[in-house]
């Protein structure tokens, strides 16, 4: 048993589950985006804006944003504990990553519900 306090779920099992579920959500979102762009070759601002003005698309996008935030936290936390051996450097890296994830998430919400 190894104690950790900076990983997302405080447990390896929950981090592992979060990582897998968020990966599925991100795959579906990416697939949707690729197909949407393929089926709208001459995409203009009005169509694009129309897509994101619908509630289901905003919910779907927010779900994807939260998934990428969780996915990045679990993934980069793992990278930091593999390669950054000095506690100070590792903690600083984790703090910067968590701060960036938080900022991007709030910014994403603002973009979705702003305009």
């Amino acid at each position: 048993m190894v104690t950790n306090i900076t990983n997302l779920g405080r447990s390896g099992l929950s981090d592992w589950l979060i990582q897998r579920i968020s990966a599925v959500i991100l795959a579906v979102y990416a697939l949707f985006m690729v197909l949407y762009l393929l089926f709208h070759p001459g995409l203009d601002y009005a169509t694009w804006s129309g897509l994101f003005s619908q509630t289901w698309m905003r919910v779907f996008s927010l779900l994807a944003f939260i998934s990428i935030a969780a996915h990045a936290w679990v993934g980069l936390w793992t990278v930091s504990t593999d390669y950054l051996k000095q506690t100070g450097v590792r903690f600083a890296f984790q703090a910067v990553v968590m701060l960036a994830i938080f900022v991007f998430l709030v910014w994403g919400v603002q973009v979705l519900w702003g305009a």
Partner: protein
């Protein structure tokens, strides 16, 4: 053509300031001998060369080493399986401290093995004879109990290289599942609780180096997957 170029990792901490590779020429007389036989012929050229060996038939697990970049047991690996362009490079198992030449300090490996409590635990009263298993229950231990603890798998695993003090490693986890799968063991939930953190089990990224190198053909990645399933069904 029958002269083999052998390059061996040498390090004696009492006399060498740093490890170096020593070149040997070996006349195999065209025979496809085992790497261990080649090592023994080289030891006759230079008796200061150190390596571990015992049974010479893949049972004791003493002569695990890195042969042309791949871990394995020298005693059951024929030259034809590893030699490329008439060259053979022998190094100690990666990731463990070198004591001398091809001899590594297995301390951290054994410590992780000890951490999974590799012995049967049963809190019920012992029966008059032995604890019986059905043939089906016994079948579940196949592919798990055969491990000889040679450390080829754990020292081929990057997750074990980076965190040997926290990640149990494929060898230890295979044995953890060996006792989780045993119908006679009653410590299942305690065993699972010790593996639930982000390092002990979940540092496995499933790259299957362990499966690729295991000289006994065992599959630690599958055992790790089974433990994950047990943890998941307990926790959801």
């Amino acid at each position: 053509m029958s002269t083999l170029q052998v390059s061996i990792y040498r390090y004696n901490p009492e006399t060498d300031s740093a490890p170096y590779m020593q070149e040997f020429q070996l006349d195999t007389q065209g025979r496809d001998i085992m790497v261990l036989n080649a090592l023994e012929m080289i030891k006759q050229q230079d008796s200061s060369m150190a390596y571990r060996r015992s049974c010479r038939e893949g049972v004791c697990g003493s002569d695990g080493m890195n042969m042309n970049g791949k871990n394995g047991l020298a005693c059951i690996t024929p030259l034809s399986e590893v030699v490329k362009d008439n060259k053979l490079v022998l190094r100690p198992l990666p990731g463990l401290p070198v004591i001398r030449d091809l001899v590594v300090d297995m301390g951290v490996f054994y410590k992780q093995y000890e951490s999974i409590q590799p012995y049967l635990q049963n809190d019920t009263n012992p029966p008059a004879t032995e604890r019986l298993q059905s043939p089906e229950e016994r079948d579940k231990l196949d592919g798990l109990y055969e491990c000889i603890l040679c450390a080829c798998c754990s020292t081929a695993c990057p997750s074990f290289w980076w965190n040997p003090d926290k990640f149990v490693g494929p060898a230890g986890l295979l044995q953890a599942y060996r006792f989780l799968a045993d119908s006679r063991d009653t410590a299942t939930s305690e065993r699972l609780a010790r593996l639930e953190d982000p390092f002990s089990l979940f540092r496995c990224r499933g790259i299957m180096n362990c499966v690729a190198v295991c000289p006994k053909g065992l599959n630690p990645t599958r055992a790790i997957g089974k433990i994950r399933e047990m943890l998941l069904s307990n926790a959801t």
